[in-house]
Amino acid sequence: MNKKIGIIRFPGSNCDRDMIDVLHDIYQVSSAIIDYRSTSIGSVAGVIVPGGFSYGDYLRAGALASHAPIMLELAQQAGKGLPVLGICNGFQILTEARLLPGTLLKNKTRQFICETVYLKVEKGSSLYHKSLGQACLNMPIAHGEGNYAIDDSGLKKLHDQGQILFKYASKSGVTSEEFNPNGSRANIAGITNKQGNVLGLMPHPERASYERLNTGVDGRVLLSSFLSLCAI
């Protein structure tokens, strides 16, 4: 059983080291950096596509990274069930690569948003849905393009197939427009693929994992869930 987590590093990734530290410090799990030019993922239990500004957000956020050599291999391994977690820019890359449906547009507010939000866990059948329970999680967001967009039929599929994991909400779980920071369709903050092994979300669990940072530790709930999916 491989206990390492692979973290893909693109030019412009900037949350890769934070993730290495959290996995090491909180979970004693070691990581392997995977270069974007590589064509092999190697022997890892799961892969994280970290946040940042890959390729300077040129063309569209995540667009150029989605065509990097490693992405073909990632798509193949994800198709075979490898757990993949995309955070912020990682989520944008996964949608551009069509590993997750929809896309992320400029925030409706026209501003880069840096704040903490509450996330309501939606109903679904993935391991994430089962293990996260019904509590609202508190995590930071930091993005200019987090406005999740999908057409009507795509949204219906997400609902019908239980692929929505997180919606922006109030502390008590109200998912109204008032608590939607960026204009995301149906307040969506995180979704899985149909199989439930690929998850993308805009909030940063790795920035809500250390008590000393005073940003809460709700990120651990999600990361623990990811590691369970990786059988770690």
Binding site: H67, T95, E96, L105
Partner: protein
């Protein structure tokens, strides 16, 4: 050498916050008649080959330059 112009637009049903900001500013200057501003991103593709590259230009536009989830595009030969 063949040149193609690719214009990428947000689909009409997708809100463009940049367009709205510009529109609101112009309205405030006393020009309420301006109904909308559509913004496109223009790319000029230059090909080496003398053979017809229209199909290739279309493919590049649909695969790389536009994201069909939220964007549409036009391709026209300019040279």
């Amino acid at each position: 050498m063949a040149k193609f112009e690719v214009n990428v637009f947000l689909k009409p049903e997708v809100l463009n916050p940049e367009s709205r900001a510009i529109l609101e500013t112009i309205h405030r200057q006393g020009i309420p008649d301006l109904k909308d501003i559509k913004i496109s991103k223009k790319y000029i593709l230059e090909f080496e080959s003398k053979t017809d590259a229209s199909a290739l230009a279309q493919e590049i536009a649909s695969t790389y330059l536009a994201n069909s989830v939220a964007e549409s595009f036009t391709v026209s030969k300019i040279d």
